[in-house]
């Protein structure tokens, strides 16, 4: 029997075609996965169930695998410490001398700062609670720069929280599950962080590109950055607190301004997750909820730009929601009438006396922060 007569020989064509169909179906699946990805979003629900489950499994496995490496690190460090004890001692003495000088300066500045705070009645940011975590896995490719930390929901960690090492900002949390949280590093291609140059408060966006040194984008001005400038978080947008150390500005090989990350000075094995909840945490929400809000008055309505002719429209509101007449309390709360502006007086001498300042207007001066 020749090969062509063999009935099994006929199987080649169908199998080739079914394999082609399998490839096509798999490609459609892959494209769907790409299209439905929402990794760049901060919202907790954007982090899918599959990722959460995978992280929950990967964290203990990664921790277990990383343990021998940790022991080896300690052993190497001990051996190095033994052989380089003398040079280390010299270096530490020098460092201590410098640190003492800095301590004296810090104490003097702290004292001066305290006096300024009292003088200006300045309200400072409250301390931010932190959670310590160990890094168990590390992805460092060009398409993903993330790490898995071994604490999660059980410690109150949420998506968006900033993550710090002992040297500076590392990134922010993008996904949380029980026992694990995924940290998006500053170097990730999708990472965008509002920062500023500490020297001149010049704003910029730190843009990761998968390399070790993220770029400074959207710099304005003729000479906004100098080599060696310290870069810190600006706090713009409320996602990160202001003033966290990020790194040092340096000119890249491509001629762009880049940042040598402070967190890269040492291995990132342990991190602190800052439980920073936007600027809303600076106010006492419970106290705000207890405060009784005065009902809107016609004066207040006029103050926000509604013409007096719109007032009768209020009559169409049902009696259940119509505000009670509270003229007296409003008058009492209002400040003395302000002097009308000179040009207005000149152009319209027959204008009636200015109305009482609305309650909203009285808040404006109080809400102004003292200049810093």
């Amino acid at each position: 029997m020749s090969f062509r007569d063999n009935p099994l020989g006929e199987l080649k064509v169908p199998l080739t075609w079914t394999a082609a169909i399998a490839i096509l179906i798999a490609l459609v699946f892959a494209i769907t996965l790409v299209a439905t990805d929402r990794r760049g979003e901060i919202q907790a629900e954007a982090y899918g169930v599959t990722r959460k489950a995978a992280d929950a499994v990967a964290a203990p496995v990664g921790g277990l695998v990383a343990k021998p490496v940790g022991w080896a690190d300690v052993a190497v460090e001990n051996i190095r410490g033994y052989f380089f004890a003398v040079s280390e001692n010299r270096r530490l003495k020098q460092e201590l001398k410098t640190a003492r000088e800095w301590r004296d300066r810090a104490l003097a500045l702290d004292n001066l700062n305290e006096r300024y705070r009292v003088l200006l009645d300045l309200k400072t940011d409250p301390p931010i609670p932190m959670v310590s975590a160990r890094i168990v896995t590390d992805a460092r490719g060009p398409f993903a720069n993330t790490r898995l930390a071994n604490v999660g929901k059980e410690k109150g960690v949420k998506a968006g929280y900033p993550v710090m090492s002992e040297n500076g900002l590392v990134g922010r949390i993008i996904g949380v599950t029980t026992g694990a949280s995924r940290v998006l590093l500053l170097t990730d291609v999708t990472s965008r962080t509002p920062v500023m140059v500490e020297r001149n408060n010049n704003r910029s966006i730190l843009t990761g590109d998968g390399g070790p040194n993220p770029r400074l984008e959207f710099l304005r001005g003729s000479d906004p950055v100098k080599p060696g400038d310290r870069i810190v978080t600006s706090g713009d947008g409320g996602v990160l607190p202001r003033g966290l150390p990020v790194g040092i500005a340096a000119k890249g090989l491509d001629g762009r301004w880049r940042v040598v990350l402070a967190s890269d000075r040492a291995p990132i094995d342990y991190v602190r997750i800052m439980r920073f909840e936007d600027f809303a945490q600076l106010t006492n929400q419970a106290e705000l909820a207890r405060m009784s809000v005065p009902p809107p008055s016609s004066l207040a309505t006029a103050s926000v730009g509604v013409t007096p002719s719109a007032a009768p429209a209020a009559g169409t509101v049902s009696s259940a929601v119509r505000p009670k007449p509270v003229a007296a309390p409003v008058t009492a709360a209002a400040p003395p009438p302000r002097r009308p502006a000179a040009p207005a007086t000149r152009s319209a001498p027959s204008t009636p006396p200015p109305p009482q300042a609305p309650p909203a207007a009285t808040l404006a001066p109080q809400s102004q922060d003292p200049p810093l």
Binding site: A19, A22, A26, R51, T137, D138, D209
Partner: protein
């Protein structure tokens, strides 16, 4: 003749890739430098398409890519799509590649790896609107192509197992 049991030529390399990806994800720095992060999945992807057409292999490639996306925390579907593009390219060019020398196969492997990384870059451009750092790309590509001997070993072991596709 070596038998072509799916577990042997797809299952074992799949598990090996997962294992080595886990090992290389340890947060390790030696003399201030990060350990390399090769894409272990590329060597079986190249070999699976070379050995013979299969229905299980594309599913395994999809699963392996999805595992990389989830484990590395990258954009969902990035490696799944990139590896499938590489697999489809090898599958389509297979009649030209079969029976060539190891050197010629290595050149094909370089091209296919470049195609996978190119597909990944395209996905990043479309999804994030940003081009990944070329040095970081070159570094990962460089350490990935060093895995070619594993691919060649897998091909040599199983290429004679199914004579219908020689």
């Amino acid at each position: 003749m070596t038998t072509l049991a799916p577990w042997e030529w797809i299952g074992v390399p799949f598990l090996l890739c997962v294992f080595w990806t886990l090992i290389f994800a340890i947060p390790l720095r030696v003399f201030g430098l990060h350990a390399p992060e090769p894409v272990f999945a590329l060597w079986p992807v190249f070999a699976w398409a070379m050995i013979r057409p299969s229905i299980i292999a594309p599913a395994a490639v999809l699963l392996l890519g999805y595992f990389l996306d989830i484990f590395w925390g990258g954009p969902q579907g990035l490696w799944a799509l990139s590896l499938l593009v590489a697999y489809a390219a090898v599958w389509a060019a297979r009649p030209m590649m079969v029976g060539q020398s190891a050197q010629a196969m290595f050149i094909w492997y370089l091209a296919v790896s470049a195609l996978a990384f190119g597909a990944g870059t395209m996905v990043m451009i479309v999804k994030a609107g940003a081009v990944p750092n070329p040095i970081a790309l070159a570094w990962q590509y460089g350490v990935t192509i060093l895995l070619f001997p594993f691919s060649l070993r897998l091909i040599e072991r199983f290429e004679d197992a199914d004579v219908r596709f020689r």
